[in-house]
């Protein structure tokens, strides 16, 4: 063995030396990095565990049947915990905001992907992204202080707190989600398809509506689902501008209370730790989490399951 002498040889650096500690260090670093990545799994588990734990505690006090089928929500007075009005109001916000975001978002995506020149794109795309960067509490403030009076000025009979202006702002907020994900899907459609259609004599309009959009429909739909799940979980806009009175059948001009808003009201109103109202917080949280999480999963599934594969 000449190993001993090579280490002493000054012209040869000791690559092989300290091998054991170096390997140990390398693998220690690897495991540390892995731990950081695995933290995300821990976060998910922690969310599920804490929500489930306290929701179960809640359901020992209030029966699940009463929770999921009850039609009045009044946790303080009378202690009736029917979640249906909250769900119906969340649904109303989601539908109304979708009416704003889906047409505008899809149209923006189609324009950016098919019509816009490089120059207009470089201006319009960041401008759209600004909409996603504004904090939601600011959108709530817009809805309360500017949109509602503006709606009144044009003759819409809205109250101080109302479903309509809050949903409008939620809709505006999620436009960039729809547009950027849909645009990615539309840009991913290979040019050969467009050229084929042009070759058959199609106009640009026909190419866009009958080739590009159908070819990218899975991506477009998955962006809708993601945006709607965002609207369902949206909190500050509805808390600030939609009011605090749950209605089983919501009217767009009146005050309502979606699930997120009810959670905020419960948590900010000095709850004693062990009451049913405190645990109701987690029961609603669990409902919300299950809905949004399954919508996210569904969005991924739609995107991969119905993707048109080219090439």
């Amino acid at each position: 063995m000449t190993n001993e002498s090579t280490n002493e040889d000054p012209t040869r650096p000791a690559f092989a030396g300290e091998n054991r500690t170096r390997t140990a260090k390398e693998s220690a670093i690897k495991w540390f990095l892995f731990a950081c990545a695995a933290l995300s799994v821990f976060v998910t588990l922690a969310i599920v565990a804490t929500l489930l734990f306290d929701a179960v505690e809640f359901f020992t006090r209030v029966s699940p049947v009463a929770f999921f089928t009850g039609t009045t929500w009044s946790p303080k007075i009378g202690e009736s915990f029917g979640v249906l009005p909250l769900v119906s109001n969340t649904l109303a916000v989601t539908v109304l905001s979708a009416l704003v975001a889906i047409p505008v978002g899809t149209a923006s995506a189609a324009y950016l992907s098919e019509y816009a020149t490089e120059r207009t794109r470089s201006v319009l795309k960041p401008a759209l992204e600004v909409l996603a960067g504004i904090p939601t509490v600011v959108y709530g403030f817009f809805a309360l202080v500017y949109v509602t009076p503006a709606l009144r000025a044009v003759g819409v009979p809205v109250g101080t707190f109302n479903l309509l202006s809050a949903s409008l702002m939620v809709g505006v907020m999620i436009i960039p989600m729809v547009s950027s994900l849909s645009e990615d899907a539309m840009s991913a459609v290979p040019d050969s398809l467009r050229q084929g259609a042009y070759g058959l004599g199609a106009t640009k309009f026909e190419v866009t509506t009958t080739v590009v959009i159908p070819a990218s429909i899975s991506g477009v739909f998955s962006s809708f689902i993601l945006a709607l799940s965002r609207a369902i979980g949206e909190t500050m806009i509805v808390v600030v501008a939609a009011g605090m009175s749950p209605q089983l059948v919501p009217s767009p001009f009146d005050s309502v209370q979606p699930m997120t808003s009810a959670m905020v009201q419960l948590s900010t109103s000095d709850l004693a730790g062990g009451t049913a109202a405190y645990y109701a917080l987690f029961a609603i949280g669990l409902t919300l989490f299950v809905i949004t999480f399954s919508m996210n999963v569904a969005s991924n599934w739609v995107a991969s399951r119905y993707r048109e594969e080219y090439e």
């Binding site: 300290e18 990545a37 047409p103 149209a107 319009l124 960067g133 905020v264 989490f289």
Partner: protein, 547 residues
């Protein structure tokens, strides 16, 4: 080819059957109109808030005229010139103008921490102790030839422990020793030693590396320190405490000077440096002229007293100061907790994660999980924080640490995903070159991948931090205070943050709050956010032009 030359505007595809372009045109304009509707609506609302917060119409017409002549007209002309003739110089100019403003924000943030949270003596002790520790580690590596990896790590950990922690009950830490030492320094001298000196060393090292000249590095270091001394000397005329002026002044001057030096040394786009000169000179000349001529400025809601006072029942006296400090402290916790973990996770997923087999499936699961976590509503993260940190870990309700950790968890998936993209963009050839030179995996990651991906990582992370500073719902869940009258003096105290304060003000029905104080608060929040986004864009542009 005869059809091409046909008369009466007939086209090649027929004589009487033209293609109706109306439908297509309507569709195109409809799409554009829809998009512009959304954008225009939000920008109009932003303009409304800005008008309400600043109330420019309450100023004298003369005030507007003076500032138009000194500031608006020259900068607009210059920007117009850049846009038409010299875009590269325009970018240099924008960076050179934005950098001091951004550094002023960061420097003021550090200064606020020094006022409210960290005593100058604590800062002094800790910084000097860390400096000594770094010196020992450096000397050990330098003078002990070829030490084993193990020994290096041991020395580093031991010196660090000695510097900050000490041995509880037996040996006090160096930091504690320095704090208790009978030095009789005043605050200004302490900051000179513990802020100006490290910054001077840093600036010196940067300049020495860039110019490949130790002498220039030395000059830069000495100049920086002299600048610090100068700040102490001129502090009485400026009207800020001298130790704070050292911090603010150096954090503005040093990065700006380094950037200008780089531009001048490379001699490219020197014309860009005209923009900051014109803009800042215009501002000062305008201010001086307005004061001399006696024109009154606008009676803005967003003014110095709004930024420096606490909430009050009277709109005229209400301010955002405690919430501002709370936000800064919370962001500190967010950055310290989410950034390293997020980058580490991204490095694992991109560099180390196995592809196939059971391990590969586990990694795939982690990635899906991260994508799904990014879609969990923020209010649910608030519940997680409430249960995890307050109930199980028994931290204080609504304290800065709880808020920061909760929001940190919230933005962690965003940091991971954007860092992953940046790491993925590093070309494989660079990794192979590093392996070819005998580097280990970690050496490759640390010396090649990480520096190359850093601008991308920073861009994505700064955007994520921008989201963090505007988050409100988690703060409501963990019980951050609606109104605090003094900023938190430690990280375990109850705090309020800017968005939380805005939410509290939205309950006030009076018009002065709705259209005044609230608007000013919103503008403050948006300015902080906007400058963070601008920083991210500048980092991205610098990076794109280099590659």
């Amino acid at each position: 080819m005869a059809t091409e030359r046909s008369t009466d505007g007939e086209s090649w595809y027929g004589t009487d059957e033209g293609v109706n372009q109306l439908r297509g045109r309507l569709f195109e304009w409809g799409c554009l109109g829809a998009m512009l509707f959304g954008i225009a609506m939000v920008f109009a609302l932003l303009a409304y808030v800005a008008l309400d917060a600043i109330r420019p119409l309450t100023a004298d017409p003369g005030w507007h005229l003076v500032f138009f002549l000194t500031l608006v007209a020259p900068t607009t002309a210059l920007v117009g010139y850049y846009a038409r003739r010299d875009r590269q110089a325009g970018w240099v100019g924008a960076t050179a103008t934005a950098l001091p403003a951004f550094c002023l924000l960061v420097g003021s943030g550090v200064a606020l921490l020094l006022v409210e949270v960290v005593q100058p003596i604590e800062w002094f002790g800790t910084t000097l102790a860390l400096l000594v520790a770094a010196g020992i580690v450096y000397a050990h590596r330098r003078f002990r030839a070829r030490p084993a990896e193990f020994e290096r790590t041991l020395v580093a950990v031991a010196t660090l422990a000695f510097a900050v922690v000490g041995v509880p009950g037996a040996i006090p830490s160096l930091s504690r020793l320095l704090q208790n030492a009978p030095l009789a320094l005043n605050h200004a001298t302490m900051m000179l030693y513990s802020f100006a000196a490290p910054v001077a060393i840093l600036a010196g090292v940067v300049v020495a590396r860039r110019r490949e000249s130790r002498r220039d590095g030395g000059v830069a270091a000495v100049l920086t320190f002299v600048g610090g001394v100068l700040a102490v000397v001129t502090a009485p005329t400026v009207g800020i405490s001298d130790h704070l002026l050292v911090v603010v002044g150096l954090s503005v001057a040093v990065p700006t000077a380094l950037y200008v030096e780089a531009v001048v040394r490379r001699r490219d786009n020197l014309a860009g440096l005209a923009l900051p000169v014109v803009a800042y000179a215009g501002m000062f000349v305008g201010a001086a002229a307005v004061a001399a001529l006696g024109f009154a400025g606008p009676e803005a809601w967003l003014d110095w007293q709004f930024l420096t006072r606490a909430h009050s029942r009277f709109a005229e006296e209400a301010g955002i100061y405690p919430a501002l400090v709370g936000s800064i402290m919370m962001m500190l916790v967010v950055v310290v907790s989410a950034f390293p973990v997020g980058v580490a996770a991204a490095l694992y997923l991109e560099e180390y994660a196995p592809d196939g087999g059971t391990a590969g499936r586990v990694v795939g699961l982690i990635e899906t999980n991260i994508a799904n976590l990014a879609g969990v509503p923020s209010v649910v993260y608030g519940l997680l924080g409430l249960a995890l940190f307050i109930r199980y870990a028994d931290m204080n309700t609504g304290s800065v640490v709880v808020g920061g950790l909760t929001v940190g968890l919230l933005i962690l998936p965003i940091v991971i995903i954007s860092s992953q993209e940046a790491v993925r963009a590093v070309p494989d050839s660079m990794r192979r070159a590093s392996y070819g030179m005998g580097a280990t995996k970690w050496q490759t990651v640390r010396n090649v991948v990480l520096p190359e991906a850093l601008p991308g990582i920073l861009t994505g992370s700064i955007l994520a931090f921008g989201r963090a500073i505007g988050e409100t719902a988690p703060l409501l869940m963990i019980g951050a205070a609606a109104v605090v009258f003094s900023p938190p003096s430690s990280f375990t105290e109850k705090f309020s943050a800017m968005p939380r304060q805005i939410f509290a003000w939205s309950h006030e029905p009076a018009g002065e709050f709705r259209y005044g104080v609230l608007a000013a608060g919103v503008i403050t929040l948006l300015v902080v956010l906007l400058s963070m986004n601008a920083a991210a864009i500048l980092v991205r542009n610098k990076y794109q032009r280099r590659s």
